[in-house]
Protein backbone atom coordinates (compact mmCIF):
# COMPACT_ATOMS: atom_id res chain seq x y z
CA UNK A 1 0.00 0.00 0.00
CA UNK A 2 2.74 2.44 0.89
CA UNK A 3 4.69 1.75 -2.29
CA UNK A 4 1.46 2.31 -4.20
CA UNK A 5 1.10 5.69 -2.55
CA UNK A 6 4.50 6.69 -3.84
CA UNK A 7 3.71 5.46 -7.35
CA UNK A 8 0.59 7.50 -7.71
CA UNK A 9 2.18 10.53 -6.13
CA UNK A 10 4.91 10.50 -8.72
CA UNK A 11 2.54 10.30 -11.66
CA UNK A 12 1.07 13.78 -11.39
CA UNK A 13 3.41 15.60 -9.08
CA UNK A 14 6.76 17.04 -9.90
CA UNK A 15 9.28 15.89 -7.35
CA UNK A 16 10.95 19.15 -6.51
CA UNK A 17 14.01 17.52 -4.97
CA UNK A 18 14.81 15.58 -8.11
CA UNK A 19 13.96 18.53 -10.30
CA UNK A 20 16.27 20.91 -8.45
CA UNK A 21 19.07 18.33 -8.64
CA UNK A 22 18.72 18.32 -12.43
CA UNK A 23 18.62 22.13 -12.50
CA UNK A 24 21.83 22.13 -10.47
CA UNK A 25 23.38 19.77 -13.01
CA UNK A 26 22.36 22.12 -15.79
CA UNK A 27 23.99 24.99 -13.91
CA UNK A 28 27.21 22.97 -13.66
CA UNK A 29 27.20 22.44 -17.43
CA UNK A 30 26.55 26.15 -17.86
CA UNK A 31 29.63 26.99 -15.75
CA UNK A 32 31.74 24.50 -17.68
CA UNK A 33 30.55 25.90 -20.99
CA UNK A 34 31.29 29.47 -20.07
CA UNK A 35 34.77 28.69 -18.82
CA UNK A 36 35.71 26.91 -22.08
CA UNK A 37 36.82 28.71 -25.22
CA UNK A 38 39.78 30.31 -26.99
CA UNK A 39 40.51 32.21 -23.79
CA UNK A 40 40.29 29.91 -20.77
CA UNK A 41 38.56 31.45 -17.78
CA UNK A 42 38.69 29.69 -14.44
CA UNK A 43 35.53 28.38 -12.75
CA UNK A 44 36.05 30.77 -9.89
CA UNK A 45 36.23 33.77 -12.20
CA UNK A 46 33.17 32.58 -14.13
CA UNK A 47 31.23 32.25 -10.92
CA UNK A 48 32.39 35.67 -9.74
CA UNK A 49 31.24 37.34 -12.96
CA UNK A 50 27.86 35.59 -12.77
CA UNK A 51 27.40 36.57 -9.13
CA UNK A 52 28.37 40.17 -9.69
CA UNK A 53 26.18 40.45 -12.78
CA UNK A 54 23.19 38.57 -11.45
CA UNK A 55 23.16 39.48 -7.77
CA UNK A 56 25.18 42.67 -7.53
CA UNK A 57 28.10 41.16 -5.58
CA UNK A 58 31.29 43.18 -5.74
CA UNK A 59 34.41 41.33 -6.89
CA UNK A 60 37.79 42.30 -8.26
CA UNK A 61 37.66 41.13 -11.85
CA UNK A 62 39.87 41.46 -14.88
CA UNK A 63 38.10 43.53 -17.47
CA UNK A 64 38.68 41.07 -20.31
CA UNK A 65 37.19 38.04 -18.56
CA UNK A 66 34.22 40.10 -17.45
CA UNK A 67 33.54 41.23 -21.01
CA UNK A 68 34.01 37.77 -22.46
CA UNK A 69 31.72 36.12 -19.92
CA UNK A 70 28.99 38.70 -19.69
CA UNK A 71 28.88 39.94 -23.29
CA UNK A 72 29.81 36.88 -25.33
CA UNK A 73 29.65 33.55 -23.59
CA UNK A 74 26.77 34.06 -21.17
CA UNK A 75 24.28 35.36 -23.79
CA UNK A 76 25.23 32.51 -26.08
CA UNK A 77 24.83 29.94 -23.30
CA UNK A 78 21.45 31.43 -22.38
CA UNK A 79 20.35 31.15 -26.01
CA UNK A 80 21.51 27.50 -25.99
CA UNK A 81 19.39 26.80 -22.94
CA UNK A 82 16.24 28.34 -24.35
CA UNK A 83 16.60 26.82 -27.83
CA UNK A 84 17.50 23.37 -26.47
CA UNK A 85 14.58 23.43 -24.06
CA UNK A 86 12.16 24.62 -26.76
CA UNK A 87 13.25 22.00 -29.29
CA UNK A 88 13.16 19.12 -26.81
CA UNK A 89 9.71 20.07 -25.50
CA UNK A 90 8.33 20.51 -29.01
CA UNK A 91 9.72 17.09 -29.91
CA UNK A 92 8.10 15.46 -26.88
CA UNK A 93 4.75 17.13 -27.58
CA UNK A 94 4.80 16.30 -31.30
CA UNK A 95 5.45 12.66 -30.49
CA UNK A 96 2.41 12.71 -28.25
CA UNK A 97 0.31 14.56 -30.79
CA UNK A 98 1.22 12.17 -33.61
CA UNK A 99 1.07 9.26 -31.14
CA UNK A 100 4.37 8.19 -32.57
CA UNK A 101 7.84 8.25 -31.01
CA UNK A 102 9.50 9.00 -34.37
CA UNK A 103 7.88 12.39 -34.83
CA UNK A 104 10.49 15.14 -34.62
CA UNK A 105 10.30 18.67 -35.98
CA UNK A 106 13.39 18.05 -38.11
CA UNK A 107 12.49 14.62 -39.43
CA UNK A 108 8.89 15.33 -40.42
CA UNK A 109 9.80 18.55 -42.18
CA UNK A 110 8.47 21.23 -39.81
CA UNK A 111 11.92 22.74 -39.30
CA UNK A 112 12.47 22.83 -43.06
CA UNK A 113 9.14 24.59 -43.45
CA UNK A 114 10.19 27.17 -40.86
CA UNK A 115 13.54 27.52 -42.63
CA UNK A 116 11.84 28.33 -45.93
CA UNK A 117 9.79 31.02 -44.27
CA UNK A 118 12.82 32.50 -42.55
CA UNK A 119 15.04 32.34 -45.66
CA UNK A 120 12.32 34.00 -47.71
CA UNK A 121 12.10 36.73 -45.13
CA UNK A 122 15.88 37.21 -44.93
CA UNK A 123 16.40 37.49 -48.68
CA UNK A 124 13.22 39.24 -49.74
CA UNK A 125 13.38 41.65 -46.87
CA UNK A 126 16.83 42.88 -47.77
CA UNK A 127 15.80 43.18 -51.44
CA UNK A 128 12.67 45.12 -50.55
CA UNK A 129 14.32 47.29 -47.91
CA UNK A 130 17.01 48.32 -50.41
CA UNK A 131 14.38 49.87 -52.63
CA UNK A 132 11.90 51.11 -50.01
CA UNK A 133 14.25 52.09 -47.20
CA UNK A 134 12.51 50.09 -44.46
CA UNK A 135 13.82 50.29 -40.90
CA UNK A 136 16.34 47.57 -40.04
CA UNK A 137 14.45 46.50 -36.92
CA UNK A 138 11.52 45.32 -39.00
CA UNK A 139 13.53 42.35 -40.22
CA UNK A 140 13.99 41.25 -36.61
CA UNK A 141 10.24 40.70 -36.41
CA UNK A 142 9.74 39.61 -40.01
CA UNK A 143 12.07 36.57 -39.81
CA UNK A 144 10.53 34.90 -36.74
CA UNK A 145 7.03 35.69 -37.96
CA UNK A 146 7.66 34.17 -41.40
CA UNK A 147 9.35 31.20 -39.78
CA UNK A 148 6.38 30.60 -37.47
CA UNK A 149 3.76 30.97 -40.22
CA UNK A 150 5.56 28.58 -42.54
CA UNK A 151 6.03 26.12 -39.70
CA UNK A 152 2.34 26.25 -38.88
CA UNK A 153 1.32 25.53 -42.46
CA UNK A 154 3.80 22.65 -42.64
CA UNK A 155 2.65 21.07 -39.37
CA UNK A 156 -0.98 21.25 -40.44
CA UNK A 157 -0.15 19.74 -43.81
CA UNK A 158 1.82 16.85 -42.35
CA UNK A 159 -0.78 16.23 -39.68
CA UNK A 160 -3.49 16.06 -42.34
CA UNK A 161 -1.42 13.74 -44.53
CA UNK A 162 -0.20 11.52 -41.73
CA UNK A 163 -3.26 10.92 -39.59
CA UNK A 164 -6.46 9.10 -40.30
CA UNK A 165 -9.26 7.64 -38.21
CA UNK A 166 -6.98 4.76 -37.27
CA UNK A 167 -4.27 6.97 -35.87
CA UNK A 168 -1.02 8.12 -37.37
CA UNK A 169 0.67 6.27 -40.16
CA UNK A 170 4.43 6.38 -39.65
CA UNK A 171 5.03 5.73 -43.31
CA UNK A 172 2.83 8.61 -44.42
CA UNK A 173 4.32 10.93 -41.83
CA UNK A 174 7.93 10.21 -42.81
CA UNK A 175 7.18 10.30 -46.54
CA UNK A 176 5.40 13.62 -46.15
CA UNK A 177 8.46 14.82 -44.26
CA UNK A 178 10.73 13.78 -47.16
CA UNK A 179 8.54 15.52 -49.72
CA UNK A 180 8.34 18.72 -47.71
CA UNK A 181 12.06 18.74 -46.95
CA UNK A 182 12.78 18.32 -50.67
CA UNK A 183 10.45 21.16 -51.58
CA UNK A 184 11.92 23.31 -48.84
CA UNK A 185 15.43 22.46 -50.03
CA UNK A 186 14.67 23.67 -53.54
CA UNK A 187 13.04 26.87 -52.28
CA UNK A 188 16.02 27.58 -50.05
CA UNK A 189 18.25 26.83 -53.05
CA UNK A 190 16.34 29.46 -54.98
CA UNK A 191 16.92 31.93 -52.14
CA UNK A 192 20.63 31.06 -52.25
CA UNK A 193 20.59 31.85 -55.95
CA UNK A 194 18.98 35.21 -55.34
CA UNK A 195 21.19 36.10 -52.41
CA UNK A 196 24.35 38.19 -52.54
CA UNK A 197 27.66 37.01 -51.09
CA UNK A 198 27.12 38.14 -47.52
CA UNK A 199 23.58 36.81 -47.40
CA UNK A 200 24.77 33.53 -48.88
CA UNK A 201 27.23 33.04 -46.07
CA UNK A 202 24.54 33.89 -43.50
CA UNK A 203 22.09 31.50 -45.10
CA UNK A 204 24.43 28.55 -45.35
CA UNK A 205 25.71 28.90 -41.78
CA UNK A 206 22.18 29.25 -40.59
CA UNK A 207 21.05 26.14 -42.46
CA UNK A 208 23.54 24.14 -40.44
CA UNK A 209 22.47 25.75 -37.20
CA UNK A 210 24.46 28.16 -35.13
CA UNK A 211 24.03 29.80 -31.77
CA UNK A 212 26.41 32.64 -32.54
CA UNK A 213 23.53 35.05 -33.13
CA UNK A 214 22.81 35.64 -29.45
CA UNK A 215 21.50 39.18 -29.81
CA UNK A 216 19.42 40.73 -27.11
CA UNK A 217 16.36 40.50 -29.31
CA UNK A 218 16.89 36.77 -29.91
CA UNK A 219 17.33 36.16 -26.20
CA UNK A 220 14.15 37.98 -25.28
CA UNK A 221 12.20 36.29 -28.06
CA UNK A 222 13.38 32.76 -27.30
CA UNK A 223 13.00 33.03 -23.52
CA UNK A 224 9.52 34.50 -23.85
CA UNK A 225 8.62 31.68 -26.21
CA UNK A 226 10.11 29.12 -23.82
CA UNK A 227 8.09 30.39 -20.88
CA UNK A 228 4.85 30.48 -22.88
CA UNK A 229 5.13 27.01 -24.38
CA UNK A 230 6.33 25.46 -21.11
CA UNK A 231 3.31 26.76 -19.23
CA UNK A 232 0.82 25.65 -21.86
CA UNK A 233 2.45 22.27 -22.48
CA UNK A 234 2.48 21.48 -18.78
CA UNK A 235 -1.18 22.41 -18.50
CA UNK A 236 -2.03 20.01 -21.32
CA UNK A 237 0.24 17.21 -20.09
CA UNK A 238 -2.57 15.09 -18.66
CA UNK A 239 -4.70 15.55 -21.75
CA UNK A 240 -1.75 14.53 -23.91
CA UNK A 241 -1.46 11.31 -21.92
CA UNK A 242 -5.10 10.59 -22.63
CA UNK A 243 -4.61 11.42 -26.30
CA UNK A 244 -2.15 8.52 -26.47
CA UNK A 245 -5.07 6.20 -25.70
CA UNK A 246 -6.63 7.30 -28.98
CA UNK A 247 -8.67 10.29 -30.04
CA UNK A 248 -12.09 8.84 -29.32
CA UNK A 249 -10.93 7.50 -25.96
CA UNK A 250 -9.68 10.97 -25.05
CA UNK A 251 -13.01 12.42 -26.15
CA UNK A 252 -14.86 9.94 -23.93
CA UNK A 253 -12.78 11.20 -21.02
CA UNK A 254 -14.30 14.63 -21.58
CA UNK A 255 -11.38 16.22 -23.44
CA UNK A 256 -12.07 18.65 -26.27
CA UNK A 257 -9.72 16.84 -28.65
CA UNK A 258 -10.07 19.27 -31.56
CA UNK A 259 -9.20 22.26 -29.41
CA UNK A 260 -6.32 20.38 -27.79
CA UNK A 261 -4.81 19.42 -31.14
CA UNK A 262 -5.24 22.92 -32.53
CA UNK A 263 -3.55 24.42 -29.48
CA UNK A 264 -0.63 21.99 -29.55
CA UNK A 265 -0.05 22.40 -33.29
CA UNK A 266 -0.01 26.18 -32.88
CA UNK A 267 2.37 26.04 -29.91
CA UNK A 268 4.80 23.57 -31.47
CA UNK A 269 4.90 25.63 -34.68
CA UNK A 270 5.53 28.71 -32.54
CA UNK A 271 8.35 26.97 -30.67
CA UNK A 272 10.06 25.48 -33.71
CA UNK A 273 9.53 28.71 -35.67
CA UNK A 274 11.24 30.78 -32.99
CA UNK A 275 14.03 28.23 -32.58
CA UNK A 276 14.73 28.20 -36.32
CA UNK A 277 14.58 31.98 -36.58
CA UNK A 278 17.05 32.41 -33.71
CA UNK A 279 19.48 29.56 -34.34
CA UNK A 280 18.81 28.00 -37.72
CA UNK A 281 18.31 24.30 -38.28
CA UNK A 282 19.38 22.21 -35.30
CA UNK A 283 18.20 18.66 -35.79
CA UNK A 284 17.54 15.63 -33.61
CA UNK A 285 17.38 17.38 -30.21
CA UNK A 286 13.61 16.91 -30.28
CA UNK A 287 14.00 13.23 -31.09
CA UNK A 288 16.84 12.09 -28.85
CA UNK A 289 16.00 13.95 -25.65
CA UNK A 290 12.39 12.80 -25.10
CA UNK A 291 13.49 9.25 -25.89
CA UNK A 292 16.15 9.27 -23.21
CA UNK A 293 13.72 10.72 -20.68
CA UNK A 294 11.09 8.10 -21.56
CA UNK A 295 13.65 5.36 -20.93
CA UNK A 296 14.32 6.75 -17.46
CA UNK A 297 10.98 8.16 -16.28
CA UNK A 298 8.37 6.57 -18.56
CA UNK A 299 6.02 8.20 -21.07
CA UNK A 300 3.94 10.31 -18.65
CA UNK A 301 3.98 13.81 -20.18
CA UNK A 302 3.65 15.43 -16.81
CA UNK A 303 7.26 14.41 -16.10
CA UNK A 304 8.42 13.99 -19.68
CA UNK A 305 7.95 17.61 -20.76
CA UNK A 306 9.83 19.46 -18.00
CA UNK A 307 12.68 16.96 -17.83
CA UNK A 308 13.01 16.99 -21.63
CA UNK A 309 13.33 20.77 -21.44
CA UNK A 310 16.17 20.49 -18.93
CA UNK A 311 18.02 17.71 -20.73
CA UNK A 312 17.52 19.46 -24.09
CA UNK A 313 19.08 22.60 -22.65
CA UNK A 314 22.02 20.65 -21.22
CA UNK A 315 22.56 18.69 -24.41
CA UNK A 316 22.57 21.76 -26.65
CA UNK A 317 24.91 23.57 -24.25
CA UNK A 318 27.31 20.64 -24.41
CA UNK A 319 27.01 20.33 -28.20
CA UNK A 320 27.63 24.05 -28.64
CA UNK A 321 30.69 23.89 -26.41
CA UNK A 322 32.07 21.06 -28.53
CA UNK A 323 31.28 23.08 -31.66
CA UNK A 324 33.19 26.03 -30.25
CA UNK A 325 36.31 24.24 -29.06
CA UNK A 326 36.90 21.43 -31.59
CA UNK A 327 38.33 23.67 -34.29
CA UNK A 328 39.13 26.62 -32.03
CA UNK A 329 39.53 29.54 -32.63
CA UNK A 330 37.11 28.93 -35.56
CA UNK A 331 33.85 27.14 -34.80
CA UNK A 332 31.71 24.42 -36.31
CA UNK A 333 27.96 24.77 -36.91
CA UNK A 334 26.23 23.15 -33.93
CA UNK A 335 23.72 21.46 -36.23
CA UNK A 336 26.51 19.25 -37.50
CA UNK A 337 27.29 18.07 -33.98
CA UNK A 338 23.68 17.27 -33.11
CA UNK A 339 23.26 15.47 -36.44
CA UNK A 340 26.35 13.33 -35.81
CA UNK A 341 24.87 12.34 -32.45
CA UNK A 342 21.27 12.14 -33.55
CA UNK A 343 21.31 10.41 -36.92
CA UNK A 344 22.67 7.08 -35.63
CA UNK A 345 20.19 7.27 -32.79
CA UNK A 346 17.36 7.76 -35.28
CA UNK A 347 18.60 4.80 -37.33
CA UNK A 348 18.61 2.56 -34.27
CA UNK A 349 15.03 3.62 -33.49
CA UNK A 350 14.03 2.85 -37.08
CA UNK A 351 15.60 -0.60 -36.74
CA UNK A 352 13.52 -1.22 -33.62
CA UNK A 353 10.35 -0.14 -35.42
CA UNK A 354 11.14 -2.04 -38.62
CA UNK A 355 8.50 -4.68 -38.01
CA UNK A 356 5.87 -2.07 -37.33
CA UNK A 357 6.82 -0.10 -40.42
CA UNK A 358 6.64 -3.07 -42.78
CA UNK A 359 3.18 -3.78 -41.39
CA UNK A 360 1.95 -0.23 -41.96
Amino acid sequence: MSSKTLDMRSAYQLQWGRLSLVVLGLFAILMLTISQGPMAISFADTLRVLLSRGFGFDFELSHSSEVIVSQIRLPRALLCISIGAILAQCGAVMQGLFRNPLADPGIIGVSSGCAVGAALAIVLFSKVSNSFDLPEQLSLVAVPLASFSAGLVTTLLIYRLGTSVNGTSVTMMLLAGIAISALAGSLIGLMNYLADDQMLRDLSLWQMGSLAGASQFNLILSWTCLVIISVFFQRDAKALNALLLGESEARHLGIDVQALKRRLILLTAFGVGVAVACAGLIGFVGLVVPHLIRLILGPNHYQLIPYSALLGAGLLLAADTVARIVVSPAEMPVGLITAVLGAPFFLSLLLKQRNLLSGA
Binding site: A11, L244, S248, E249
Partner: protein, 262 residues
Protein backbone atom coordinates in the same frame (compact mmCIF):
# COMPACT_ATOMS: atom_id res chain seq x y z
CA UNK B 1 -45.30 9.87 -19.91
CA UNK B 2 -43.00 12.78 -19.29
CA UNK B 3 -41.62 11.11 -16.16
CA UNK B 4 -40.65 8.00 -18.06
CA UNK B 5 -38.95 10.09 -20.69
CA UNK B 6 -36.96 11.79 -17.95
CA UNK B 7 -35.87 8.63 -16.22
CA UNK B 8 -34.60 6.74 -19.27
CA UNK B 9 -30.79 6.80 -19.24
CA UNK B 10 -30.80 6.63 -22.97
CA UNK B 11 -33.53 7.35 -25.47
CA UNK B 12 -33.38 7.12 -29.26
CA UNK B 13 -36.31 8.35 -31.35
CA UNK B 14 -36.52 7.45 -35.05
CA UNK B 15 -32.75 7.48 -35.36
CA UNK B 16 -31.28 6.75 -38.77
CA UNK B 17 -27.70 6.86 -39.92
CA UNK B 18 -26.40 7.04 -43.46
CA UNK B 19 -22.83 6.53 -44.53
CA UNK B 20 -21.98 7.49 -48.12
CA UNK B 21 -25.64 7.17 -49.08
CA UNK B 22 -25.91 3.71 -47.54
CA UNK B 23 -28.48 3.35 -44.83
CA UNK B 24 -26.59 1.74 -41.99
CA UNK B 25 -29.32 2.22 -39.39
CA UNK B 26 -33.00 2.68 -40.10
CA UNK B 27 -35.55 4.18 -37.76
CA UNK B 28 -34.18 2.97 -34.45
CA UNK B 29 -36.40 3.51 -31.41
CA UNK B 30 -34.87 2.46 -28.14
CA UNK B 31 -35.01 3.31 -24.46
CA UNK B 32 -32.71 1.99 -21.81
CA UNK B 33 -33.40 2.42 -18.11
CA UNK B 34 -31.19 2.41 -15.02
CA UNK B 35 -30.65 -1.13 -13.76
CA UNK B 36 -30.78 -2.66 -17.21
CA UNK B 37 -28.04 -4.55 -19.01
CA UNK B 38 -28.87 -4.34 -22.68
CA UNK B 39 -27.14 -6.68 -25.10
CA UNK B 40 -26.85 -5.70 -28.77
CA UNK B 41 -26.76 -8.76 -31.01
CA UNK B 42 -26.57 -9.21 -34.74
CA UNK B 43 -24.53 -10.56 -37.61
CA UNK B 44 -21.39 -8.76 -38.83
CA UNK B 45 -22.36 -5.52 -40.54
CA UNK B 46 -25.80 -5.40 -38.96
CA UNK B 47 -25.06 -1.96 -37.50
CA UNK B 48 -24.22 -2.83 -33.87
CA UNK B 49 -20.96 -0.91 -33.80
CA UNK B 50 -22.52 2.07 -35.58
CA UNK B 51 -25.31 2.12 -33.03
CA UNK B 52 -22.78 2.03 -30.22
CA UNK B 53 -20.85 4.88 -31.84
CA UNK B 54 -24.02 6.95 -32.03
CA UNK B 55 -24.68 6.28 -28.36
CA UNK B 56 -21.10 7.21 -27.44
CA UNK B 57 -21.51 10.41 -29.50
CA UNK B 58 -18.67 9.54 -31.82
CA UNK B 59 -21.12 9.75 -34.73
CA UNK B 60 -24.09 12.03 -35.18
CA UNK B 61 -27.37 10.58 -36.44
CA UNK B 62 -28.44 11.57 -39.96
CA UNK B 63 -31.96 12.01 -38.66
CA UNK B 64 -33.87 11.43 -35.44
CA UNK B 65 -33.21 12.58 -31.90
CA UNK B 66 -31.22 11.14 -29.02
CA UNK B 67 -31.27 11.89 -25.30
CA UNK B 68 -28.73 11.02 -22.64
CA UNK B 69 -30.30 11.19 -19.17
CA UNK B 70 -33.04 13.35 -20.65
CA UNK B 71 -30.77 15.88 -22.34
CA UNK B 72 -29.77 16.15 -25.97
CA UNK B 73 -26.17 16.17 -27.14
CA UNK B 74 -25.96 19.98 -27.35
CA UNK B 75 -27.17 20.35 -23.79
CA UNK B 76 -24.24 18.38 -22.37
CA UNK B 77 -20.84 19.70 -21.43
CA UNK B 78 -18.32 17.03 -22.53
CA UNK B 79 -16.70 17.00 -19.11
CA UNK B 80 -19.97 16.63 -17.20
CA UNK B 81 -21.15 13.82 -19.45
CA UNK B 82 -17.81 12.00 -19.20
CA UNK B 83 -18.47 11.40 -15.49
CA UNK B 84 -21.67 9.55 -16.35
CA UNK B 85 -20.97 7.98 -19.74
CA UNK B 86 -17.95 5.71 -20.24
CA UNK B 87 -16.98 3.64 -23.25
CA UNK B 88 -14.85 0.50 -23.42
CA UNK B 89 -13.37 0.28 -26.93
CA UNK B 90 -12.88 -3.04 -28.70
CA UNK B 91 -9.15 -2.47 -28.66
CA UNK B 92 -6.84 0.43 -27.96
CA UNK B 93 -3.98 1.81 -30.02
CA UNK B 94 -1.96 2.79 -26.94
CA UNK B 95 1.66 2.00 -27.80
CA UNK B 96 3.55 3.97 -25.16
CA UNK B 97 4.88 2.13 -22.12
CA UNK B 98 2.71 3.59 -19.36
CA UNK B 99 2.48 1.50 -16.22
CA UNK B 100 -0.82 -0.33 -15.72
CA UNK B 101 -1.79 1.90 -12.80
CA UNK B 102 -1.11 5.02 -14.88
CA UNK B 103 -3.51 3.76 -17.57
CA UNK B 104 -6.22 3.03 -15.00
CA UNK B 105 -5.70 6.47 -13.43
CA UNK B 106 -6.42 8.09 -16.78
CA UNK B 107 -10.06 7.21 -16.13
CA UNK B 108 -9.98 9.81 -13.36
CA UNK B 109 -8.19 12.35 -15.52
CA UNK B 110 -10.51 15.26 -14.86
CA UNK B 111 -11.80 14.14 -11.49
CA UNK B 112 -12.20 16.65 -8.71
CA UNK B 113 -11.92 13.93 -6.07
CA UNK B 114 -9.15 14.02 -3.49
CA UNK B 115 -6.02 12.09 -4.17
CA UNK B 116 -6.67 9.35 -1.57
CA UNK B 117 -10.17 8.74 -2.85
CA UNK B 118 -8.88 8.42 -6.43
CA UNK B 119 -6.23 6.03 -5.30
CA UNK B 120 -8.79 3.87 -3.49
CA UNK B 121 -11.03 3.75 -6.57
CA UNK B 122 -8.15 2.71 -8.82
CA UNK B 123 -6.97 0.02 -6.43
CA UNK B 124 -10.49 -1.36 -6.08
CA UNK B 125 -11.00 -1.47 -9.84
CA UNK B 126 -7.62 -3.09 -10.47
CA UNK B 127 -8.23 -5.75 -7.83
CA UNK B 128 -11.67 -6.49 -9.27
CA UNK B 129 -10.14 -7.05 -12.71
CA UNK B 130 -7.30 -9.18 -11.33
CA UNK B 131 -4.59 -6.83 -12.59
CA UNK B 132 -3.42 -5.43 -9.26
CA UNK B 133 -0.27 -7.55 -9.42
CA UNK B 134 0.63 -5.90 -12.72
CA UNK B 135 0.14 -2.36 -11.44
CA UNK B 136 3.76 -1.33 -11.99
CA UNK B 137 4.35 -3.35 -15.17
CA UNK B 138 4.46 -1.57 -18.51
CA UNK B 139 1.11 -1.78 -20.25
CA UNK B 140 2.76 -2.60 -23.58
CA UNK B 141 4.09 -5.93 -22.27
CA UNK B 142 0.63 -7.29 -21.40
CA UNK B 143 -1.33 -9.75 -23.51
CA UNK B 144 -4.45 -8.67 -25.41
CA UNK B 145 -6.78 -9.99 -22.73
CA UNK B 146 -4.86 -8.34 -19.93
CA UNK B 147 -4.92 -5.02 -21.80
CA UNK B 148 -8.68 -5.35 -22.17
CA UNK B 149 -9.02 -5.80 -18.40
CA UNK B 150 -6.85 -2.72 -17.82
CA UNK B 151 -9.18 -0.66 -19.99
CA UNK B 152 -12.26 -2.07 -18.28
CA UNK B 153 -10.72 -1.05 -14.96
CA UNK B 154 -10.07 2.41 -16.44
CA UNK B 155 -13.62 3.01 -17.69
CA UNK B 156 -15.23 1.60 -14.56
CA UNK B 157 -13.02 3.90 -12.48
CA UNK B 158 -14.23 6.76 -14.68
CA UNK B 159 -17.81 6.00 -13.66
CA UNK B 160 -16.93 5.44 -10.00
CA UNK B 161 -16.03 9.11 -9.49
CA UNK B 162 -19.57 10.45 -9.28
CA UNK B 163 -21.92 8.71 -6.88
CA UNK B 164 -25.70 8.90 -6.65
CA UNK B 165 -26.17 9.62 -10.32
CA UNK B 166 -27.53 7.52 -13.16
CA UNK B 167 -24.71 6.28 -15.35
CA UNK B 168 -24.26 4.60 -18.69
CA UNK B 169 -21.49 2.13 -19.50
CA UNK B 170 -20.94 1.08 -23.11
CA UNK B 171 -18.96 -2.10 -23.79
CA UNK B 172 -17.87 -2.95 -27.33
CA UNK B 173 -17.21 -6.70 -27.46
CA UNK B 174 -15.77 -6.62 -23.95
CA UNK B 175 -15.00 -10.33 -23.73
CA UNK B 176 -13.58 -11.06 -27.18
CA UNK B 177 -9.97 -11.26 -25.99
CA UNK B 178 -10.63 -12.80 -22.58
CA UNK B 179 -10.33 -16.35 -21.30
CA UNK B 180 -13.36 -18.08 -19.80
CA UNK B 181 -12.57 -17.17 -16.20
CA UNK B 182 -12.04 -13.46 -16.90
CA UNK B 183 -15.06 -13.33 -19.25
CA UNK B 184 -17.24 -14.33 -16.32
CA UNK B 185 -15.42 -11.95 -13.98
CA UNK B 186 -15.95 -8.99 -16.30
CA UNK B 187 -19.61 -9.77 -16.96
CA UNK B 188 -20.22 -10.30 -13.24
CA UNK B 189 -18.63 -6.94 -12.53
CA UNK B 190 -20.86 -5.33 -15.14
CA UNK B 191 -23.80 -7.01 -13.43
CA UNK B 192 -22.74 -5.46 -10.13
CA UNK B 193 -22.63 -2.05 -11.76
CA UNK B 194 -26.17 -2.71 -13.01
CA UNK B 195 -27.36 -3.71 -9.57
CA UNK B 196 -26.13 -0.34 -8.29
CA UNK B 197 -28.35 1.41 -10.81
CA UNK B 198 -25.90 1.80 -13.67
CA UNK B 199 -27.14 1.03 -17.13
CA UNK B 200 -24.91 -1.12 -19.33
CA UNK B 201 -25.11 -1.51 -23.11
CA UNK B 202 -22.86 -4.22 -24.59
CA UNK B 203 -22.18 -5.41 -28.10
CA UNK B 204 -21.74 -9.17 -27.79
CA UNK B 205 -21.08 -12.06 -30.12
CA UNK B 206 -21.45 -14.88 -27.64
CA UNK B 207 -25.21 -15.49 -27.50
CA UNK B 208 -24.98 -17.54 -24.32
CA UNK B 209 -22.98 -14.92 -22.50
CA UNK B 210 -25.61 -12.38 -23.58
CA UNK B 211 -28.41 -14.69 -22.53
CA UNK B 212 -26.90 -15.24 -19.11
CA UNK B 213 -25.93 -11.70 -18.14
CA UNK B 214 -28.16 -9.29 -20.08
CA UNK B 215 -31.58 -8.39 -18.79
CA UNK B 216 -32.72 -7.36 -22.25
CA UNK B 217 -31.54 -8.16 -25.75
CA UNK B 218 -31.88 -6.21 -28.98
CA UNK B 219 -31.43 -8.11 -32.20
CA UNK B 220 -30.28 -6.06 -35.18
CA UNK B 221 -30.46 -7.10 -38.80
CA UNK B 222 -29.53 -4.88 -41.74
CA UNK B 223 -29.79 -1.75 -39.68
CA UNK B 224 -33.19 -2.46 -38.14
CA UNK B 225 -34.29 -3.79 -34.79
CA UNK B 226 -36.10 -7.06 -35.40
CA UNK B 227 -36.47 -8.19 -31.81
CA UNK B 228 -36.33 -6.38 -28.49
CA UNK B 229 -37.10 -8.13 -25.22
CA UNK B 230 -35.98 -10.60 -22.58
CA UNK B 231 -33.52 -13.35 -23.57
CA UNK B 232 -36.42 -15.81 -23.66
CA UNK B 233 -38.36 -13.63 -26.08
CA UNK B 234 -35.43 -12.79 -28.35
CA UNK B 235 -33.36 -15.96 -28.49
CA UNK B 236 -35.78 -18.13 -30.45
CA UNK B 237 -34.70 -20.54 -33.19
CA UNK B 238 -36.71 -18.47 -35.71
CA UNK B 239 -34.95 -15.20 -34.82
CA UNK B 240 -31.51 -16.81 -34.83
CA UNK B 241 -32.20 -18.43 -38.20
CA UNK B 242 -33.35 -15.11 -39.65
CA UNK B 243 -30.38 -13.09 -38.41
CA UNK B 244 -27.45 -15.49 -38.47
CA UNK B 245 -28.68 -17.91 -41.14
CA UNK B 246 -27.90 -20.73 -38.73
CA UNK B 247 -30.15 -23.53 -37.55
CA UNK B 248 -29.88 -23.43 -33.78
CA UNK B 249 -31.56 -25.19 -30.94
CA UNK B 250 -32.58 -23.28 -27.87
CA UNK B 251 -32.88 -25.30 -24.70
CA UNK B 252 -33.59 -24.66 -21.06
CA UNK B 253 -31.90 -26.78 -18.48
CA UNK B 254 -32.43 -27.00 -14.75
CA UNK B 255 -28.86 -26.01 -14.03
CA UNK B 256 -29.15 -22.68 -15.87
CA UNK B 257 -31.93 -20.14 -15.48
CA UNK B 258 -31.39 -18.69 -18.94
CA UNK B 259 -31.98 -20.03 -22.45
CA UNK B 260 -28.97 -21.82 -23.93
CA UNK B 261 -28.29 -21.68 -27.65
CA UNK B 262 -26.59 -24.71 -29.21
Amino acid sequence: MNDIKQSASLRLENVSFEYQENRVLENINLQVYPGEHLGLLGANGAGKSTLLKLISRELKPSSGTMFWFGKSSDQWQPLALSQRLAVLPQSSSLSFAFSVSEVVEMGLLSSSLGYRRQQAICEHRMRAMDIWRYKDSPYTRLSGGEKQRVHYARVSAQLAQSEDQAKLLLLDEPTSALDLNHQQALMLDAQQQVSRGCCVVSVLHDLNLASRYCSRLVLLSRGEIIANGSPDQVLTPENIAQVFDYKAQVIRSDSANFPVVI
